[in-house]
Symmetry: none
DNA sequence: GTGAACAACATAGTTAACCTAGTTGGCATA
DNA sequence: TATGCCAACTAGGTTAACTATGTTGTTCAC
């Protein structure tokens, strides 16, 4: 699968995966093949696949969950990353609402947990 | 040099170098120590240093020239606007990753809870 | 039926080794 | 002096192996 162009294999794989995500071939939230499967699919070693996934993980395009797999980040169409220097004020406001949301959800989870432990 | 925080070594080194560049300790156009020197300096293996440099290279912050060395990209003070205060920017970035992490963990907890209540 | 124990599989991080290729400086030879 | 060769150093790419840790499914004992 990896062509013998000048580009290194890990970049070729990263580009290919990126295209699949942007092209819709890999839907947001969907699970990627495992590292070993990708390695076989691209006829590459485990290491280069891990490097490719690492790049996209660093870009925020993919998220890896230890023990489960690598998923396509679904809230991608938002800004956050593309804009080089997005203004800090709105960023902080988003973070504040995100923290509030997390706080409420966590409170719910905690209450359900305490109810179950009570009985 | 690499502290035993939860963060992996290659990210610690990348962050440190990023701060040195943004803080002016590493001037644009200047030459970084060689990979081997950095490895010794951070008391890390060659591989993690190469990973750290690779990240910053991918970000466009550094440029590597085979046979010569790794240099700080100089045309970085680009358009957009004055970065207000680099400490705030990195602070916000850290908060964003922290919120993402919390969000993922909470989503996992919530999903397991809903699954159990379904059965 | 429940729960503990275990095996299999997953990502993640780290290390070491090897190869390729570009740069530089020294040195011997023409 | 000028040319060519060579050693040393550089980044970059690739591979393999190991450890750590999390998830999932099965099996077995209670």
């Amino acid at each position: 699968m990896v062509k013998k162009t000048g580009q290194p294999a890990y970049l070729q794989i990263a580009d290919d995966l990126r295209k699949q995500v942007h092209g819709g071939s890999l839907a947001p939230g969907s699970l990627l093949p495992s590292t070993a499967q990708l390695a076989e699919q691209y006829d590459a070693s485990l290491s280069v696949v891990k490097m490719a996934v690492g790049i996209l993980r660093n870009e925020g395009l993919l998220i890896g969950q230890q023990g489960k797999g690598v998923f396509v980040q679904d809230q991608e169409p938002s800004e956050s990353e593309q804009l080089p220097a997005m203004d800090l004020v709105s960023e902080v406001m988003e973070l504040r609402t995100a923290v509030q949301d997390l706080s409420e959800r966590l409170a719910r989870v905690e209450s359900t947990l305490s109810e179950r432990s009570d009985r």
